[in-house]
């Protein structure tokens, strides 16, 4: 059985008298251990899809079934609990809490868990080790480079051992070299069994993924396995531009 099943998902935004169909008729299946990139131009609905996947954005129609749980059938606070236990987010501009150290930032998702403080600390340290930042646990975000901040953000996202790691443009604010390092880190995490779903603009990033989904005007136009040569413009169900 798939880890995530999405069928006939739709999300409409009403702005004034206009209704924007951000997503329509989206069907996705994600298996445990997959690395998926979601691509598309601005306004294609990829960010909306990620937020719906992350239990942050109620869809207009359809639901997200994750590990047998229908997310949007859960009452609000239970959905928050589900996020705390089963989801990890990496945000575009890292969104670290500026007045907390790297370790404290990573401990944040555990703050609400019933766990003694020492255990939280140990788990946070393990996560920081996984991203190679064990030497800088006591630094404030302002004392870290962009790439290091990104790593802290990744550590924070995986500290609760989530079913799925959701990342939004994780390389958007990084230089090429650092981007490569960060993508390598995602790949590494994925190899150790972590399911990753990443929204990205950067076509180079899909080289790391098992599968790339391209959205346009709110629906999937391409779904391509990496086994297809990335330069093959007629790969999969359609054109995989740029990859």
């Amino acid at each position: 059985m798939a880890l995530i099943e999405i069928s006939n998902l739709a999300k409409h935004y009403v702005s004034g008298e206009e209704t924007v169909e951000a997503l329509r008729g989206v069907d996705i299946r994600i298996d445990a251990g997959e690395f998926i990139t979601i691509m598309g131009q601005s306004g294609s609905g990829k960010s909306t899809l990620l937020s719906v996947l992350g239990g942050l954005n109620h869809p207009t129609a359809g639901d997200v079934e994750m590990a047998g749980v229908k997310l949007y059938a859960l009452p609000g606070e239970k959905l928050a609990d589900f996020r705390a236990q089963n989801l990890g987010f990496v945000f575009q501009s890292f969104h670290l809490i500026p007045y907390l150290t790297a370790l404290e930032n990573v401990m944040l998702p555990l703050a609400i868990a019933k766990m003694d403080n020492r255990e939280k600390r140990t788990k946070a340290k393990e996560a920081l080790e996984q991203v190679g930042l064990e030497a800088k646990v006591d630094r404030l975000p302002s004392q870290l480079s962009g790439g290091e901040q990104e790593r802290v953000a990744i550590a924070r996202a995986i500290v609760n051992k989530p079913h799925i790691l959701l990342a939004d443009e994780p390389t958007g604010n990084l230089d090429t070299k650092t981007s490569v390092e960060v993508m390598a880190l995602f790949r590494e995490l994925n190899k150790s069994g972590q399911t990753v779903v990443m929204v990205t603009h950067n076509p180079e990033n899909c080289a790391y993924a098992d599968r790339t989904i391209v959205l346009k005007d709110g629906h999937i136009v391409v779904e391509a396995e990496r086994s297809f040569p990335v330069h093959d413009r007629h790969a999969g169900k359609g054109t995989l531009e740029g990859c």
Binding site: S51, G54, N57, A80, Q92
Partner: protein
């Protein structure tokens, strides 16, 4: 947050200052009241109306036929509020001829009298035995005697042990003798003409005490001497009401500052709150975070506000109270009250911002998502 703390602190400081000033000043006035002698007068019940007005007595000294028995005196100290009584001064009055002049002889218990009339300044000594008397300044002048002189009353020789400095009151014209002696001289053994009672007045119910004494002494007339003190208390009461009014406005403004600052802070931290929500914090967690913050800031503001309010009160009290003897009242109720008030205002004013924060849409908050 610093702005919020200072805003709330200034509010609390203002309130502490006003409350402490009011308290200190009423303490001052209560002490004055105590110092200014009797505030309860016990006289024999009489059907005649007084013939004196403003210290001018018409038709000479009126000798009331009725008197209080000396035995009744002890009953006054048995009333329920007896611990508020600071002095009971019995007096016997009677006219005597002294060196060819009519004077009013007052038999007093000097110990009690002096405790009550602390403004008395005596040139010479207080009478120590039955053979000594004390003269008012006018009486001494009229009779042309000095302290240390001897004087004869009804054939008995007395030594003038001391003379009172001008008091501007009826005391100036009187001759004071020890109570027992005066009773014998006037032929009123065991009788008392009037009793003056001084009650310690820090919040004591004078009217209650009047009623209580009246119950014990059904044959006497018990009245409160209050006009002067009353008017000062009235003024003080107005000041108190004014300061409570100001305090109310200050609390309101303080709450407004907390509200606006908290709203601003919540809006400013939209992203942060979005992150908290995205990583699984419940709405109730967000509320708790904001309210905890409000609690800490209010606690700090309360402590600082109390300290600076008391400091300001210490500086302003000498200006506000004319007397030098107004003492700053350090009241733990004010301390805990001000901190509690700060907490209540801080938290109540943060409730809506906290609710607002908890209801923020995490997707909006993170925009990028």
């Amino acid at each position: 947050m610093a702005f919020l703390t200072i805003g709330l602190m200034v509010g609390i400081a203002t309130i502490v200052n006003l409350v402490t000033l009011t308290k200190s000043m009423s303490g001052d006035i209560e002490r004055k009241m105590d110092e200014f002698g009797a505030n309860i007068l016990v006289t024999p019940r009489s059907n005649d109306l007084s013939m004196s007005y403003g210290g001018i007595s018409l038709g000479g000294v009126t000798f009331d036929q009725k008197e209080i028995s000396e035995e009744d005196l002890a009953k006054i100290t048995t009333i329920k509020n007896n611990r508020n009584i600071s002095a009971v001064s019995p007096k016997v009055l009677g006219g005597v001829r002294l060196a060819g002049r009519d004077v009013l002889l007052v038999g007093v218990d000097f110990e009690a009298e002096l405790r009550m009339k602390q403004w008395w300044k005596i040139f010479g000594d207080t009478p120590k035995n039955e053979g000594e008397i004390l003269l008012g300044s006018d009486a001494a002048k009229t009779l042309n005697v000095m302290s240390g002189d001897s004087i004869e009353i009804k054939g008995e020789k007395f030594k003038v042990s001391g003379i009172l400095d001008q008091t501007g009151s009826q005391d100036d014209a009187l001759v004071f003798a020890p109570l027992k002696k005066a009773q014998r001289l006037l032929g009123k053994e065991g009788k008392i003409t009037l009793v003056e009672v001084a009650a310690l007045c820090a919040g004591c119910p004078i009217s209650d005490m009047v009623t209580q004494i009246a119950e014990k002494l059904p044959d006497a007339k018990v009245s409160a001497i209050q006009q002067v003190v009353e008017s000062r208390l009235h003024a003080l009461d107005q000041f108190r009401r004014f300061s409570y009014g100001v305090a109310g406005v200050v609390v309101f403004i303080g709450a407004l500052i907390v509200f606006v600052t908290m709203m601003g802070s919540v809006t400013e931290r939209t992203t942060e709150i979005g992150v908290f929500r995205a990583i699984g914090f419940r709405k109730s967690h967000i509320m708790r975070i904001i309210l905890l913050e409000a609690l800490l800031v209010s606690l700090l503001a309360g402590l600082l506000g109390y300290a600076s309010g008391m400091g300001a009160a210490k500086l302003t009290l000498p200006i506000m109270a004319e007397g030098k003897n107004a003492v700053l009242v350090w009241d733990t109720t004010v301390m805990f009250g001000s901190i509690a008030l700060s907490l209540v205002v801080g938290i109540l004013a943060s409730l809506y911002p906290a609710l607002h924060a908890s209801k923020m849409d995490p997707t909006e908050a993170l925009r990028a998502l």
